[in-house]
Amino acid sequence: MSAVQEALPAIRGSRDATVRRFALTDAIFHGLTRAAAILVLVLLGGVAISLFAGSWQALSTFGFSFLTSESWNPVTEKFGALAPIYGTIVTSAIAILIAVPLGIGIAIFLTELCPRPLRRPIGMAVELLAGIPSIIYGIWGLFVLAPFLQTTVQPFIIGVFHGIPGLNSLFAGPPYGIGLLTSSLILAIMVLPFITSITKDVFDTVPPVLKESAYGIGCTTWEVTRRVVIPYTRIGIMGGVMVGLGRALGETMAVTFVIGNAHRISTSLFAPATTISATIANEFTEAVGDLYTSSLVALGLILFVITFLILAIARYMLMRIDARTGA
């Protein structure tokens, strides 16, 4: 008895020490993880600050006209971002126009029509498209797609629309192969997997009982999709489209290969043009002079602001659909 009583303080003491040690190590680990989480915020903040600092010289020299001027002349050091902004928006918009119907079609196919054993392999194949590095799309676009368009599709379209006012300036020759439309096609393939997989995921959130009751009153598969599934998932689909748009706007290497890198705004979709990211990729290492470099960083800042807004809206929409399903 007395021996136990004598040992008690020692046991208590060592237990207290252990608890203190546990508390300390736990606090350290907690602090570490928290610091890492905050670092993610710091990264994005750092990107914004460094881009702003780097572009300050260009922005203060050109002011607002940087956004509205089309000239891009390294010799006279007159820089304006209008042509790259125009190229970025037009290529992305056409890419989305092509990719959205295709993506939604594939998602309907995968959720409603596809035989079960094929569902996973096909879904995976479409997602593998997303994993292929953009430089691969670029080299394929330059050596395979562009010559094909140049020799067959473009002369044909130019011929068809030759006498039609409006359309003949949209599809005006000569057929270079590379240019706005080729870039849009490549971008469409690249954003297709993102739109498809997000659309498929939000289609899966539709409660089966909603679809079953529509089928129960005699709706066809298309009517169920059109009147039940798509209205229910509209925000989620929009979110997926926005994610795709964010990708398309910032896509660099694939576009750099096939856009032609010409700083001018042309009405023809077959004309060479440039985008923000392609301009930076092509010219940054060759830029001589601080103002030139600074102008390129300013282009980066514009791209950053646009994609940040688009992606933030996309996230907000997808969060709303998550909140509804309680995920």
């Binding site: 890492a36 993610v40 994005l44 460094s50 330059l142 498809t196 290497m253 980066g300 791209l303 933030a312």
Partner: protein, 283 residues
């Protein structure tokens, strides 16, 4: 009666048309993948030989290999993963464990998702301003940092998702036998989520091994063998970019072969990564 049956007919016809269009859409998607992979294999294998892995990148008009570019890619990828993974895993741990319900987590998740899809060329500009400009020269180290910044959001996302899948009963059992929080995380949560976290790391490797834009003005390129982290270093994607746009046939052939090597690596990595977590999805 006849109007009802004609309405029925037209609804059925519309359904058939729309469903056919969906099948065609899927066909186009798959055909596109097949076209790209087909062209890649066809043109890439033509130049595939042991020399590609044994010789340096050649001067214009000469035969050679891609050894220094492959080496540079591997070195920068490894450094990026070593730097980026711990940060990503720790941040993901905070979001799923310590701070699951904190406001910070919501903000970090939002920002992380944006970083995940942010244009990689912007990261390249950031690292240029951060490291290349102050140091005064391009370096492999700057390239590695740019790639590490791309690794972090992928790993954060998968770590958080996978830790959230670990049942709370497991954590409670750990806490009930007196284990402190960090021991529960280390010995219970990490162990249960291990395959998922590894998947995230593999996917991040797949992502950065084909990245070109962030390397263009951080690591630049190097035509010669270099293992100096403080100097420009060749990488496979940048070499492909430079060679593909050149007028020399030997260079273009090497670009195709390099493209094939990268694609096979990336596809193998992502299929392997998916197979790690595939069993869980099937349930």
């Amino acid at each position: 009666m006849s109007t009802a049956s004609s309405l029925h007919q037209s609804r059925k016809r519309k359904n058939a048309v729309m469903m056919t269009l969906c099948v065609i859409a899927a066909g186009i998607g798959l055909a596109w993948l097949a076209l790209i992979l087909g062209a890649l294999v066809y043109k890439g294998t033509a130049g595939l030989s042991l020399d590609v892995f044994m010789q340096m990148t050649p001067p214009p008009g000469d035969a050679g290999g891609l050894l220094n570019a492959i080496y540079g890619s591997v070195v920068m990828t490894v450094i990026a993963v070593i730097v980026g993974t711990p940060i990503g895993v720790l941040a993901g741990t905070y979001m799923a464990e310590y701070g699951r319900f904190s406001k910070l987590t919501t903000v970090v998740r939002f920002i992380n998702d944006i970083l995940l899809s942010a244009p990689s060329i912007i990261i390249g500009l950031f690292v240029y301003e951060l490291m290349v400009r102050p140091m005064g020269h391009f370096s492999a180290l700057a390239g590695s940092v740019a790639l590490a910044i791309l690794v972090i959001p992928v790993v954060v996302r998968t770590t958080e998702d996978m830790l959230n899948l670990v049942p709370n009963a497991l954590r409670e059992a750990g806490t009930a036998i007196g284990a402190p929080r960090w021991v529960v995380i280390k010995s219970v949560a990490y162990r249960a989520a291990l395959s998922g976290i590894v998947t995230g790391i593999l996917l991040s490797i797949a992502r950065i091994s084909g990245e070109t834009a962030p390397l263009l003005f951080t690591a630049l390129n190097n035509q010669f063998w270099s293992s100096n982290l403080n100097a420009p270093m060749a990488s496979l994607p940048v070499t492909i970019f430079q060679f593909a746009l050149s007028p020399y046939e030997e260079w273009q052939q090497l670009a195709w072969t390099g493209a094939l090597i990268i694609t096979l690596t990336v596809l193998a990595l992502s299929i392997f990564a998916r197979s790690l977590t595939g069993r869980r999805e099937d349930k």
